[in-house]
C-alpha cells in the first residue's frame, strides 16, 4: 500500500501527457513490476546464464588463469572422470533419500495439522514447524554434529541398547539434511490436505471405507501432488548443499563440495560452474517429470 501511495505521488510530478499514459492500468502495472522483474531477470536468470557461459570456458593449467575460449572439456571431464560420476550419483541418492525420509515424516504431521488438530492447535503447529527455520543453519548443523559425536547425546542414549551413533558420514548427512528441510515438506502437504473438503473423507466413510482404506484410496492419491511439490524443495535444497556434509559428513563429498573446492583452493571457476549446472539440469528434468502430476499447481 505504502509503495502504491509513494508511486502515486511520484506520478504527480510527471507531465500530463505522461500521466495520462500511466493512468492506463497496463502501464501502471508494468511500472510496478519493473523492479522485481529487473531483479528476477538480471540478478537471477542473468547469473544463471553467466554460470552456463563460464562453464564453457577453460583454465590455463600452468598459470591457473581463466581462458575465454569455448570448450566442452569441463563437461567431458565430469562425465569421464570416475570420481565425479560417483559424487554425482551419491548426491542424487542422498537427495532422493532425504526426500523420502521427509515425505514419510511429514505426511502424518501434516495430516494431523490439517484434519485433526483444532484451529488453535493448527496455528500453533504451523509456528512450531516454521520455528526451526528462524534459527541459523550453522547452529542447527553443529547441533547435529554434537548429537552425533562419539559420547554425544545419541551415543549415550543408544549405548544401553547395544547401539551407537552412526558417526559422521553419509548417513549423518542424510539425517541432518532431512531435519533441515523437513518444514519445506510439511508445509506444502499441510496446505494441500487443508484444501481437501471434509466431505470427501465423510463420503469415503459413508460408502463403507474404514480410516485405513480412506487414507489409501482418497487421502494419499489426492495429497500426492502436494508431496511432489514438497519434494521439489527438499530434493533441490539437498542437491546444492555443501555445509552439512562438511560438518557431519566426515570424508564424504557431495557436488556442493566439489563446486566449493574448485572455486576456492583450485580456483577453477569454469569447472565449478560446470559442476554447478548438474543440479540445475537435474531439477529441470525433475520438474518436467512431475509437471503431469499437477504438483506445480500446488506450489
Amino acid at each position: 500500500m505504502n509503495l502504491l501511495r509513494r508511486l502515486g505521488r511520484g506520478i504527480g510530478a510527471i507531465p500530463r501527457s505522461g500521466r495520462r499514459l500511466l493512468r492506463r492500468s497496463g502501464a501502471r502495472v508494468g511500472l510496478l513490476l519493473l523492479p522485481p522483474m529487473l531483479w528476477l531477470g538480471l540478478v537471477y536468470l542473468g547469473a544463471l546464464a553467466a554460470l552456463f557461459v563460464t562453464s564453457l570456458w577453460g583454465q590455463n593449467s600452468f598459470t591457473g588463469n581463466i581462458e575465454r575460449v569455448w570448450t566442452l572439456d569441463n563437461f567431458r571431464d565430469l562425465l569421464t572422470i570416475e570420481v565425479y560420476r560417483t559424487i554425482t550419483l551419491r548426491t542424487l541418492g542422498i537427495a532422493a533419500l532425504v526426500t523420502i525420509v521427509d515425505a514419510v515424516l511429514a505426511f502424518p504431521i501434516a495430516l494431523y495439522m490439517a484434519k485433526v488438530a483444532s484451529p488453535r492447535l493448527q496455528r500453533l503447529m504451523v509456528i512450531a514447524v516454521l520455528m526451526p527455520l528462524w534459527a541459523s543453519y550453522l547452529v542447527k548443523a553443529y547441533a547435529w554434529r554434537g548429537l552425533l559425536a562419539q559420547n554425544g547425546l545419541i551415543d549415550s542414549i543408544a549405548s544401553p541398547f547395544g547401539l551407537g551413533t552412526p558417526g559422521y558420514g553419509l548417513l549423518a548427512t542424510t539425517i541432518t539434511l532431512a531435519y533441515l528441510w523437513l518444514p519445506f515438506m510439511i508445509l506444502p502437504i499441510y496446505a494441500g490436505l487443508e484444501r481437501l473438503p471434509n466431505s470427501l473423507f465423510e463420503a469415503s466413510a459413508d460408502l463403507g471405507a474404514g480410516s485405513g482404506m480412506t487414507l489409501r484410496r482418497v487421502v494419499l492419491p489426492m495429497a500426492f501432488p502436494a508431496v511432489v511439490a514438497g519434494s521439489i524443495f527438499t530434493f533441490s535444497l539437498s542437491l546444492g548443499d555443501y555445509i552439512a556434509v562438511r560438518i557431519v559428513g566426515g570424508t564424504g563429498q557431495l557436488l556442493g563440495n566439489v563446486v566449493y573446492d574448485n572455486q576456492g583452493a583450485a580456483n577453477n571457476l569454469p569447472f565449478a560452474a560446470a559442476v554447478a549446472t548438474i543440479p540445475v539440469v537435474v531439477m529441470l528434468v525433475y520438474l518436467a517429470a512431475v509437471r503431469r502430476t499437477g504438483a506445480l499447481d500446488s506450489l
Binding site: 466431505s199 459413508d206 463403507g208
Partner: protein, 361 residues
C-alpha cells in the same frame, strides 16, 4: 408399515448451542421424508447424526431393528448425497460409483454391472469414463446419487442436493428424484430449506425450528393446516390476523392464518354482506405485484392489518388489477378457510392441526 428409522430423545449440543433438542421421529420404510427449516434449525445436524458423522449428546437412533447410535458411518446401512456432492476428483465417474462396492470387496464383474445399472438409473449411461471436472453441476449431482444408490442402502440421506442447481434444472431433478425413489423403493430422507421443493416431493415433511420439530405432516396438511405461525410463515405465503384486528373482523383473538389465494378481491359495490360462512373486510390496495402466473395485491385493511391477496392471471385483464393501486376494495374469504393457530378459542373456525407427537404415532 415397518419403520426405517426410529429416533428417540435425540439431542446434539455444540457447547451452548442446542442444534438438536430432544427429537423423537419415526420414518416409515419406503417413505420420501423431508426435513424442512431455515438454516441453523438443526435439520442438517439430524441428517449428520443419522449418517454417523456426528455423535449425539444423548438419545438413540435405530435403523430398522438395529440400534446404530454407536456405530461409525462405514458400519451403517445408509448412504449420503452431500450438498457439495463430494465426488472424488481423482477418480473417474465409474470409479466413483464403484467406490462403495470396491471397499466392500464386491467382485469386479458384479461391480461393473451394478455401477452401469446405477448410472442408467440416473440417466448417465456412457459417462463412466468421464472425469468429474468434465461434468456439469447437474451431472455431478447425478453421479453422487448413483454412487449412493449403487450400495442399495436401507436409507438414502440427501443434504440439500439440489441447492447448487439453477431453478429449471432443480425443478426437473425434483421430479426425477421422486421417480427414482419410487423406482428403487429406498427410504429417502431429504434435507432442504426450500418449502416448494419439500411440498413437491415429500410424502411427509418435518418442519424444523431451533432444534425441534414444529410440525410433522403431509404436504397438504402442512400447507392447509399449519400448526403455528412459524410453519404458516415458512411454508408458503400467509396472512396472519391476530389481536384487535382478528377480534374486529372475526370475533376472536386468533391468531388466524389465511392463505393469499383463498382471498377474493372485489370492488366495494360488489362486496357481499358478512354471514356465517363468509368473512368480509374493507381496505385500500397499497401495492400490486405482477408475478407472471399470478398477481399479488397488498391490501391495507381498515381494521389495521395488511393482507396479501393472490389471484391467477388466467385471463388477460391484468391491467384492471394493476389499476387498482390506491383504490378501495373489499376482501372476502370463506370462514372455513381460516386456520386458527390459537387453539384456546373454543369457537375457532378450524381446530388446531394435529400436534407432531400425534402425527408421529
Amino acid at each position: 408399515m415397518p419403520t426405517a428409522i426410529s429416533v428417540r430423545g435425540l439431542s446434539k449440543h455444540f457447547d451452548e448451542v442446542r442444534a438438536v433438542d430432544g427429537l423423537d421421529l419415526d420414518i416409515a420404510d419406503g417413505e420420501f421424508f423431508s426435513m424442512l427449516g431455515p438454516s441453523g434449525s438443526g435439520k442438517t445436524t439430524v441428517l449428520r447424526l443419522l449418517a454417523g458423522f456426528e455423535q449425539p449428546t444423548s438419545g438413540r437412533i435405530q435403523l430398522g431393528d438395529d440400534d446404530v447410535t454407536d456405530l461409525p458411518p462405514y458400519a451403517r446401512d445408509v448412504n449420503t448425497v452431500f450438498q457439495d456432492y463430494a465426488i472424488f476428483p481423482h477418480l473417474s465417474v465409474r470409479q466413483n460409483v464403484e467406490y462403495g462396492l470396491r471397499v466392500k470387496k464386491v467382485p469386479r464383474g458384479e461391480r461393473r454391472r451394478r455401477a452401469e445399472e446405477s448410472l442408467a438409473t440416473v440417466r448417465l449411461e456412457g459417462y463412466g469414463e468421464r472425469r468429474p471436472h468434465q461434468l456439469s453441476g447437474g451431472q455431478r449431482q447425478r453421479v453422487a446419487l448413483a454412487r449412493a444408490l449403487v450400495n442399495r442402502p436401507k436409507v438414502l440421506l440427501l443434504d440439500e442436493p439440489l441447492g447448487a442447481l439453477d431453478l429449471k434444472l432443480r425443478r426437473e431433478m425434483q421430479i426425477e428424484l421422486k421417480e427414482i425413489q419410487r423406482e428403487v423403493g429406498i427410504t429417502f430422507v431429504f434435507v432442504t430449506h426450500d418449502q416448494e421443493e419439500a411440498l413437491t416431493m415429500s410424502d411427509r415433511i418435518a418442519v424444523f425450528n431451533e432444534g425441534r420439530i414444529e410440525q410433522l405432516a403431509t404436504p397438504v396438511e402442512l400447507y392447509e393446516q399449519p400448526s403455528s405461525a412459524f410453519v404458516a410463515g415458512f411454508v408458503g405465503t400467509s396472512n396472519l390476523l391476530e389481536g384487535a384486528v382478528a377480534r374486529a373482523l372475526l370475533g376472536a383473538d386468533g391468531p388466524f392464518v389465511i392463505r393469499p389465494e383463498k382471498v377474493q378481491l372485489v370492488a366495494p359495490a360488489d362486496g357481499p354482506a358478512p354471514d356465517a360462512t363468509t368473512c368480509v373486510a374493507e381496505g385500500v390496495v397499497r401495492e400490486v405485484v405482477y408475478l407472471g402466473a399470478t398477481t399479488h395485491s397488498v391490501v391495507e385493511l381498515d381494521a389495521g392489518a395488511i393482507l396479501t391477496v393472490s389471484h391467477q392471471n388466467s385471463d388477460r385483464s391484468i391491467d384492471a388489477a394493476l389499476e387498482r393501486r390506491d383504490q378501495r376494495v373489499v376482501l372476502t374469504w370463506r370462514r372455513d378457510h381460516l386456520v386458527s393457530l390459537g387453539g384456546s378459542d373454543p369457537d375457532s373456525p378450524v381446530n388446531r392441526a394435529a400436534s407432531p407427537e400425534e402425527e408421529t404415532a
